[in-house]
Chain length 260, copies 6
């Protein structure tokens, strides 16, 4: 796969945009949450990561990256300062409007690169239903914890993955090391039953419920679950690269009509 | 676990209701889709199954069963006659209203027994976010394909599971055998890459998209994916029993404060 | 009018559905409230009755019966445990979505068999306005207290009719006698001015207002108005039969182009 | 009942308003449709009439009259030029907002004097449900065709009443004779089965449906149903006076706690 | 410009309406607030003025005047009795519906004559965006403080203009002198930095914020800002005449294709 | 005014956020449009500029900068590829949700730095009305064309200012010179009557209407109005600095209670 520069929507003039859209009907839309990520990571983690991945995918595929959607549902993080939560119905409305505009330029495939997995992927799927009914576009939801999950897991060494954990810390070390303050952060193993973060009750019953602010604070007194100290920038780079590669492969399949 | 009779909301007088709600703050709400399930199963499969499971759970736990929500998002099934689809935003609004009423009687835990897994579980999660913010209640989403999934899978013999497949056919044979017309139905293995129905592109990349009506008709020309001929009423009974037992266990944990 | 078996949407496979919809563009949608009906009747009265009537009409006409809408506006009954109220705007949205799906299969006439007369008929009419503007379908609202009202009244012997009264008790005796507990229930004549339940202030001025929870409790300390003790299953059977016959006649007129 | 001058909200300064609201917690809100009324009456009939009645009631009771709501659902009249229709959900939202403001000044009873009976009374009832739940106010819906209906009917001489008929023509002759052009207008008896306008199919079955634009044009080729030529200003004056008196009596009962 | 009589929508029959709409595709819609205007002016000022101006414009141009929209956002005036505020989203919905009906009759240009400048002009612009996208109509917003502002200012003698000030008082003296009670009213110069009312912080920075109820009461203890005592009916007549003439000129330009 | 580093919400951990919010209850929210800006400027101009200004203000005042809202109403720019438009009602809903979250952390003043003046400032004002009613926060709308407008104008040399003009080009030269491609771009003086861009018909009448896509293409065949060739990075720097300084001064006044 030939490497190029990312194609950033906000940095193109309209004649450049016109040229890009003549060559592809696929676009990348980073979506993420503004919410706390422990003492060692910044509030923007769920945006930095999908934006970084989307740029990598764009560099590989030439598919343009839209400006990011920075506010999504995350009310259960409001127990720490800084989380900004949008209700699901409002996010759906916003995403339908975005698709409605994009269809005017011949766009048909919108890849939502979602940095807030377990958080807003459900709302994105609900939006996908409405977009499919009301526009000529279709949403493809690539949540950063789902894509290439097995390979990401194989890179990890910590037993518990949760929030602001080894995975997110490693990725941020690769993207913005200046914003990672790992010194003195210890493992929080409060979610001992599963190998990977699950908002579900327990893997075997798979009964889902959303944690409340109070639940969240009890599970994660400092805002994180897992062991951030296991993270390294090399692991983060490997994860980001692998996820981007998977999404790029999906786009190739899509362009070649190999999906469905 | 002692067995009793199911406690049906619609069949209680208000003084009986009062007594029930004095003993529990948990309720069961069956949610399902009215949509096609091949030539061999009726349109109400996704409602018959969660209602049956909810009644079993109620008999085990004494928790009451609300009347069912019979219309949810399923527009991709409109390629066959009879599917009735509600948009996600409207379903969310309806579920928030239901929770708002239930909180008046001291109800705090609402178990959504969802028969339309892969279909409306995402919208139910979005609703769960709003209910948690706007009411004193919490939603617990028990989708019938997720709960006890490993045990259900171990009962199956067909290689591909999808829609109106061995699992749903077996369950309906146990619930309403008169509505199952299996003669001459052959396996449709159109989704060869995974062992269990996935609306996702492929398991390893986990990039989600909703199939359109056209996709669905191409994948399932008769409306089903999998091998209905592998179903037996005994298998169905075992599956229903196991799922009900899992949900009942969850409710016990909930009542004992063992969840979270 | 030849008698057959009711045609139940949820029990048909899509090829059966296809055949039904080739022969008629009319469907029956039972709509009812989950709300208290005194100590002697269950919470589901307003659903049991329209479902029963719809099945009778279907048996007479071959028109299919959709799964029921079980939650509608009834906040004034929340003074007793168990009432679940949906706001009018949400119910309208849901009904418009249902009609939007139905129009895809050639359905044009949707008979709403409404068990919650005086309760949600107004919201159903508001929905009818929107459905007429936004879809190819039309709503026909058959509220069970309005249809064949004179004949139903002539069957009654009690001076006051209200809620969970002689009429509803008799109908339930015919449908589900096991759920009627009439022993010791006395007449409540709190609404002495009219012969038939009216939510209006007084018949002659016809100024409408909705009773509040407090009003309702004052009028009906046990949850009912009227004299349930006057009910018999024979009366109930006669009422149900007469109402069903009236709706069936309407459908015949509709099919013959005799309406409007 | 002592006669005074009407108290018009729009003509009072805030100190005068303050004084009025210290003496009553009841207000009058005229609501009407902007829609065609035949060749002989103007588009504003459904507003002129409730405004006139509200002023009469105000003069009798001292209760203030709000500015009118001039746009409501009436899409079935769009077959003639000039009808402006608002969807029910939007009208409900607007009325809830009005009640929310009014509650700030101690208003508790809002009498909706509705000139568009059979048209928007259902939407007003749906709004009444929401207002009762969300505000400290209550709506009382006085539709001008319902209030004192028997007395109004006894004044009429024409066999068929419908739209822009003897009743509406007579009232307009009393209010704005300059806008009535009755010469050459003949009776249209297209709705022969009932003595008074009904949008229902037939009185005995009482199955409601909304007429479409096409239906309406077929029933009323010139836009009216009934016999406008039977109208006189004296009849109109008697009708208006009787309706106003009935509403005034209701307000007195309300103030004396005699309602419910 | 030849003078005629105003063409009032509510006073026309549909055949008259048809004739009017055959000659123009432009209409006038007065929009105003029901809100306090000091001790000397009535609550309806923001409606009386645009209705008067619209009638003048209609007399000059033959363009018809719709019934007025009487309730708009004005929550900051609820510190005095009588203000009725509608939320912006609800007003937008209502205006989109009005335009949707009007487009059926060939209307393309809707002139909103807005009496509540600084109050709802922003919501009207937001509505204009939606109307342009969703209908065949376009909104033209003529706020009475903006149109011909220089000429209106040149007529004034008071140094501060705000609310219920020299301008509004003068206009009301010309329209309804019986509702103006100016005796003893003194100048309130609380907004000393600008020559004309601005809801902005200060002219040079132009950072907008909406005053709260508390702010408003602090700025205008009696409900007005400016010097009502400088008003005369002659000034009012000159202002109204000039504004009407400006809007009439705009309509001529519009009809001649000279706009844009 | 002491200079520091901008305080970026997305780059802070929650303990850092907590410290910042202990020292101020004011935040900066950049809002902008993704839309075409001629052949010489990128689609993100309306976001780059308010983000840059917000960072300058933050550096001067210590007030934190939220992630930007990147999609707003701009449908009239869809005549060129790349514009993404959100409907006003959806943007209002989103902004109300953001304020609702922010109030949880003690935030009271939200400065919207709006890069899409003349475009979404009206919708922002409508949102300000709702935020003031429904939350403890208040919006202050600082549109980049309004703030310090006189000083910005005095820096310009071109006679016509419009869109993607001397002002926007100069600012982008100072912020991202690599994205400015000015060679060969000539002045477009299509809006000759005013010295500064106005979406209004003409300054003197101030009747507002939104240009349609067709209008816009006629006025700006290449997507810009004005003379980009007059821009220099020095002018841009001076403009940005002056605007930031003005907003900083406003914040100081706000903190000192000098506003209102």
């Amino acid at each position: 796969m030939s490497k190029g520069k990312p194609v950033l929507w906000a940095e193109l003039s309209w004649p450049e945009m016109e040229k890009v859209l003549a060559s592809t009907d696929t676009v990348l839309l980073p979506v993420g949450s503004t919410e706390q990520h422990g003492r060692h990571l910044p509030l923007g983690v769920d945006i930095f990561i999908p934006v970084d991945i989307a740029r990598r995918v764009s560099a590989e595929t030439g598919v343009p990256v839209l400006p990011s959607v920075n506010f999504v549902p995350c009310a259960w993080h409001e127990c720490f300062p800084g989380a900004i939560s949008i209700t699901p119905r409002v996010l759906i409305s916003q995403l339908v409007d975005i698709a409605r505009s994009l269809q005017n330029y011949g766009v048909r495939n919108i890849i939502l690169v979602n940095g807030h997995t377990g958080g807003c992927d459900s709302t994105l799927v609900a939006a996908a239903d409405e977009v499919l009914q009301e526009t000529a576009c279709r949403f493809y939801i690539a949540s950063v914890v789902d894509v290439a999950a097995d390979e990401v897991l194989s890179i990890c060494s910590s037993p518990v993955l949760g929030h602001a954990d080894e995975v997110e810390t490693a990725k941020m070390m690769a993207i913005r090391p200046d914003l990672v303050h790992i010194e003195g952060v210890k493992a929080n193993d409060r979610e001992p039953k599963s190998g990977y973060l699950s908002v579900n009750y327990r893997r075997k019953s798979r009964i889902f419920f959303r944690t409340s602010k109070e639940d969240w604070k009890a599970l994660a007194p400092e805002g994180y679950i897992g062991d951030p100290s296991a993270a390294t920038p090399e692991k983060g780079e490997a994860m980001l690269s692998r996820i981007a590669s998977e999404i790029s492969g999906f786009i190739k399949d899509l362009e070649n009509g190999h999906v469905i």
